[in-house]
Every structure is written in structure tokens, then in C-alpha cells.
Subunit: 306 residues, 3 copies
């Protein structure tokens, strides 16, 4: 692989060629991720997990990725059982784990934490979510899911739905989709529109997205509905919250007969009706699976093998 990034901090650090390299490598690792082939490419290697915030999905898929490649994992899943409770600062903890591991994965509640850590240690650092900031491996697995299920990314029509204001996932994803010439729609209540700064950035790169608050405007034309959760905390008025939540809920009646798939970064609450899980529309668990080969590709690219 000719991929050359040392750290995985933000999707903005990636060229389209970098992304393509990861997706290509992920595809070649899919049989290992599905446990249909064995690999020992990371035998004797150690991944250090520093999760200052809990995250089952991201943590477990990194662990599976590492272990399917025959590597080992150390670290902490939350900060209770770590020396963090003894008041050690982030830099010292990271430098310590870096002495024991060949790469670090960090999730932290503060934006910029992963970049800061990458400046402090010699081993590669992977950002697994830093507060309102970036979560680049999520974006890569979203792209990989589209490519594997739809056969391509370029030329797709993708609607991002729900909380586009605070949703870290959709910010990174819109940026990456723009690189591929995807036609995007941003579907959200007025209170939760995509931030003007991001829209401006996209426009600078000649990416124009349709913005609407009515999901029905996009249903007939999109290939992918990318749904995110609308959080109660965003609304002072509970009735307003209930009304809006209902207007962006995906159920079978809404999508039946349409030619589209439904994606979601998970965990989902009730923004997608359970009945959708068991239809060919619901692709979010398959999407979760695709996190494994994508993270395998990243780990293989960052950790020098014997």
C-alpha cells in the first residue's frame, strides 16, 4: 500500500488517493474480517486503546480488527480503572502507553486531544472521536459501506438526515462525499441545520448540497438515507422535540417501494422503526461490520510488520 499518513486524526488530512488506498486495502481484508481466511500480519504487535469516553462499537471493532490480524490489545475502556484517576495528565498517560504499544487509538471528550497526543508520542495515533471534532475511521467505513453495497461512491445521491448541527459524523462525511462528487441533500429541522461554516467550506470546493427540512422532498431521488439521532437535549420544549423527532423518523411505510438503503452510525434509538431492521433497506449492521476491514486496513498501514 502506498498510503503514507503517519497518524489518522482528521478526514481533512486525507487526499482522495489516500482514501482510495484504504478502501482498496479494506476490500482485500474482508475475508479475514469475516473470519473466512486467517492472517498473522500483526503477530506480536500491540494496539494501545485509550478510551476516555465509553464507546462499545468503535472499541470492539478496533479490537476485532487487531485480533483477526493476530495482534494484541491493551488499554482502558473508561477512566475509572486507570491511573487517570490519580490525576495524571493526558500527555503523560499517552507517552506511557506509547512505551508499551505499536500504535494508539484515542477517544476523548475534548476536541483536539488526538492531534495533541500525536505530537507527544513517536508511535502512530488514531483518532476514535474527539468531542465535537473528528472521527475519521467512521467516515472511512461509511464510504466503504457505500462502495461495497452500491458498487460505487461517485455519482451516488446521499441524503444526510437529522441533527446536522451537532453531529460529528455528518460533518466529516459531507466533506469526504464532496471529494467524490456525491450529490448531497441536507435534511434537518431548521434548529439543527448544517453549520454555515461547513456549507461554506463545501462550496469553496465546488460542492453544493440541497438543504431542506422536508424528508419527502428527497425520498424519490436518493440512493442512501444517512440517518442520525436528534437528541432531546437540543430542545428546551419537550413537545417541540416530540414533533420534530416524529417528522424525521424512518419507518417502513415511508421508504417502501423506494430504491434506496438506510445507513446509521449507531447506536440508534427510535429514529428508525424496528421493522426496518428486518428489511433489505436497513444496512446499519452491515455498515458496523465494514468498520472491521476498514480498521484492519488502517492498522496494517500504520503498524510496521516484521
Amino acid at each position: 500500500m502506498s498510503f503514507t499518513l503517519k497518524n489518522i486524526i482528521s478526514i481533512k488530512d486525507f487526499s482522495k488517493k489516500d482514501i482510495n488506498e484504504i478502501l482498496k486495502s479494506a476490500e482485500s481484508l474482508e475475508a479475514v474480517a469475516r473470519s473466512k481466511e486467517k492472517s498473522d500480519s500483526l503477530t506480536g504487535k500491540i494496539l494501545g486503546m485509550m478510551f476516555y469516553e465509553p464507546s462499545t462499537r468503535t472499541r470492539l471493532s478496533f479490537e476485532t480488527a487487531m485480533k483477526r490480524l493476530n495482534g494484541g490489545v491493551i488499554g482502558f475502556a473508561e477512566t475509572g480503572a486507570s491511573s487517570v484517576t490519580k490525576g495524571e495528565n493526558l500527555a503523560d498517560t499517552a507517552r506511557m502507553v506509547a512505551e508499551y504499544a505499536d500504535a494508539l487509538v484515542i477517544r476523548h471528550d475534548l476536541e483536539g486531544a488526538a492531534r495533541y497526543v500525536s505530537d507527544m508520542v513517536d508511535v502512530p495515533v488514531i483518532n476514535a472521536g474527539d468531542g465535537a471534532g473528528q472521527h475519521p475511521t467512521q467516515t472511512l467505513l461509511d464510504l466503504f459501506t457505500m462502495q461495497r453495497i452500491m458498487g460505487k461512491i461517485k455519482g451516488l445521491k446521499v441524503a444526510l438526515i437529522g441533527d446536522l448541527k451537532y453531529g460529528r459524523t455528518v460533518h466529516s462525511l459531507s466533506y469526504a462525499l464532496g471529494m467524490y462528487g456525491v450529490k448531497m441533500s441536507f435534511v434537518s429541522p431548521d434548529e439543527l441545520k448544517m453549520p454555515p461554516g461547513i456549507v461554506h467550506d463545501l462550496n469553496q470546493n465546488n460542492v453544493v448540497a440541497q438543504e431542506t427540512s422536508d424528508i419527502n422532498e428527497v425520498l424519490d431521488e436518493v440512493d442512501v438515507l444517512y440517518v442520525t439521532r436528534i437528541q432531546k437535549e437540543r430542545f428546551p420544549d419537550p413537545e417541540e422535540y416530540s414533533r420534530i423527532k416524529g417528522a424525521y423518523r424512518i419507518d417502513y411505510d415511508l421508504i417502501k417501494g423506494k430504491d434506496l438503503i438506510v445507513m446509521h452510525p449507531l447506536p440508534k434509538m427510535d429514529e428508525i422503526a424496528h421493522e426496518v431492521d428486518h428489511t433489505p433497506y436497513g444496512k446499519y449492521f452491515e455498515q458496523a461490520f465494514y468498520g472491521v476491514p476498514v480498521r484492519m486496513a488502517i492498522l496494517e498501514s500504520l503498524i510496521k510488520s516484521f
Copy 2:
């Protein structure tokens, strides 16, 4: 192995032939469990552990079983550090972990949770205890312990002692022992007798157990004392609790000179005197060990190797 169950949910799903297959396979894996031989039968395979209730013994013996076979383990040991705290439902969490793993082990406080999960996912599911329900691998290791230490199961005389009303372990075990024509005694205070439904079920299968509240009635004739804990919460009156607890406590004076062994699913509190630990009577730690080859046998039977 000709064992054909896809999931391990309840001992009632097992035929006697199924149980014999597991016990036979466990015996052949004992040298690996004792770390006297190596195995790589599950290289590259991942076991997903979903422990909604803490359980050191069951969790660690499954982990050792998987790792001695060169497989990997992911999951959560309690629900604090998982996305469960974000309100994700059980089905979604299970479907997610199933995307990363080749089999799931689940412990949950609600009866029926494991069966429900097995309907939701494509990978095999092992019930590691669901509330007042089943804990089939405990029963299998109890049987294996008797076979290995006593040389047989059929024809043994086994007394189940203590809390027979609420004890999940003794319910499953009595059912399985009935299949082997074991002569059983149920020894408990009146308040904690074996539930009539279970006694009725056993009778339907031509299994008759002696019931008594006096432990002295069985001591001279049994081969195995299977002791369980009597929990304080079962008694509104603390003095009544103390009196009853004392009457079912096993100490050296009670059993010395008898030809029997003492088993216990652990953890034990003071229902067995510490002095018994260091005598040939106390077999509960050896019993804990036998959980490893039994769980190895189950994992090998459920997870398709390369």
C-alpha cells in the same frame, strides 16, 4: 464431534447424546486446559462477551477456554463502559457485537434474554446465565466434574443442598441428573424447597427425588454433596436466617469418615467451613477448573474452524 446444537441456551435443549458428546470432547481437551498441550484450533476466531451482570468465574473461564485454543475475546464485563449506557436496546447491541465475533456469550439479569438474542443474530449464542433462568454450561461442568472425579455419572447418589427454590444452578442440574438415572436427594429448609413445577417435571420423566430438611438423613448414603448458598434476603427474620444457615453448613466434623465429595458452584460464603477447602472432600476449585475444558468443547463445537 457429531454435536449439532447451534446455540447453548438451556440444558433442556440437550439430548443425553448431546451432553455425552460435550463431555467426551471436554475430556480430550483437558490437557490443553491444563496447559500441558498447545492448540490453535480457534486461531483468528473471536468470542464476543456480553456481560450485563458481573461474573468473574464464568467470564474468566470462557476467556481462558478461548485463549488456550488461540482465539481472541472482545466484549464488556459490565455495562458501565459500553454503549448500553447510551440507551441502546439489547437486540441492537447483540447484532452489533455479532458483526465482530464468531460466537456470543451473554449473561443478563432477565430470563429469556439469551434465547431472544439467539433469534436476533446469525452467530451461535451461549447463555451464561439469564436471571432466574438457565446457566447450561454450569450444568455441563457439574456433570463433567462428577464424571472425572467419580468416574461416572449414572448410578451416583447426589444430594442438592441449600436454597433449592431460587437456585438457578440446582434446577438445571436436577433435570440433567435425572437424564442419567442419578438418585437425587433435595435437602433444604421448608421455605426453600425445590419448586413443585420442577419436581412435577422430574416425576413426568420417572425421576423421583427424596425430599428432606435434615442433612443427616443423606450423609451416609450420598456420593456427592452439591451445596448452594442460602441468601439472607430470603428471610424477613435475621434470627430465623441464622438458625437455618447454621443447619445447612458443611464443616469437617459433619463429613469426616464419609465416602463423599463436596461440590459448590462458587462463589461460596460461609456455607462451607474453610477447613474443608484443604481436605480431599472439597472439590469445588477442581470443579471450577473443569469449566475450562467443558467451555473449550462448546466453543469448538459452535465455532467453525478454518
Copy 3:
């Protein structure tokens, strides 16, 4: 290796020959610890970790040591998710984990816990810190650090600085350094002097250490400043604490131009200025790394390979 200790409980159990064996073996394992070479010396072996107190550094370096040698790890990192919460006693928990593992590592808040456990189980036991007691693998890695960085231990001049009264680390270390004929200085506030019992023990072995409360007295002559934290809880008067803390703080101005290194068992708070981290003086992260080859050497010596 001709090392013959069965358990690693206290540095006082070691002969100088024992220590030299471990250091020599650690040196040969350094390439594996740095992930420059592979090893499968502990394939199929399991290390059982019983951490009744959290400890990121010690726990993770043991895990890395075991995994770099291709072994597996089970256990608990704190007592919340274990059956300890169900009231099981230490001996029973240890005997249970010993049924699943080839060696135990225990950290406990009670002095003597590791020795007690070693009497209860058949597998080797490693003390990873027992309250105010011993932490022998820390001492061994401290010695290894000096040998690797300074090229020798014998003949060095080492100042132990800070809380010498309650600091478990410095008690064990002073004993071991005495065995090597190291010239020691004990630098502490009067309230936190090395306990007379330890000084007496050292004197019995013809080891004499200079005692002072003024760090400036030693700076020109020592090779190693071994710094420990002064804890606020030791001082009833916050102003007294602030004054003393300041007097023992190591910053760049204090040491620049001197021919010495700074060590620390970590985690450090503000007893060493951050600026020192990025100078050649600060060797504490390298010191943390040396815990890996030292623990590898211990694990290889205790766990019988196939």
C-alpha cells in the same frame, strides 16, 4: 536461566545472583519488547491479573509483556466487575483464577496479600504492589533502567528524593541498591525521612546513606536523581505542604549543566517540571518502557513453557 524463585513477592527474597539473572534475561528480550523481533515463548499460556487497586502502568506493562511473548491475559482491573462484589474472600478468588491461569499477578491494598495468596495456590504469584509493602518488579525495572542507561549499577551515586517515609518504591529500591554497593543519598523533608528501621537494616548490611533535607547538597555529585511524589495528605497544614513541595521540585534550572539523569516511578504530578520531559535528563518514560523486558524475563522464568 538458572533463576529459581517460584514467586516474586519481595525484593528481599532475591539474591544478587537472582537479580542479575533477571536483568540479563531482560536485556536479551529487549528487541522483542521493542517489537523488533517476534517471540512465541508463551503461546497458549495465560496470565491471571487480580488488580484490587487500579494501576494503569503496572497492569498494561504486564499485559504487553505477556502478549509480546504470544501469551494471553485474563482477570480484572478493578473490583467493580468481579465477583469480589459478591463478598468472595481473597483466597477463594485467587484459587479460582489459579485454576484458569499459569501465573497470577496481584495488586492489593493490604500489605502481605501477595504472600498470603502465594501460600493458597499452586501457580506462581507475582506481587504488583501490596499496600505499604513491596512492589518488586518496580525495583527490578529501576535497576534495569540504571544498567541500560548508565551502563552499570555498581559504583553509581543515586539520590532518592521526596517522600521517603511512605514511598513503597524507595524502600525496596534502597535495599536493592545496597546490594550493588551504590552510594545513596536520602533527600527529604524531616517529616518524610526514610524510616529508621530501613536505615538500620541497611546499616546492618554495611550500607550507609547520606541523609539531608537540602537537594542542593547532592546535585553536583549524583548520577541519578530518583524522584517521588510528596502527597498533600501527609501535611495537616496546606501552606507547609506548598512550601515543602516547592523545595523538592525538579526543574530545568536546577539540573542544567549537571551530569545526571532523572528517574520517577510515575505517575508524576508537578514534582518534575514539564520542561524536563523534553530534555535528555528526563528518563522516566524510557524507565516505564524497561518494565516490559523486565516483566517478560520474570514471566518467562516463572511460567514453564511447552
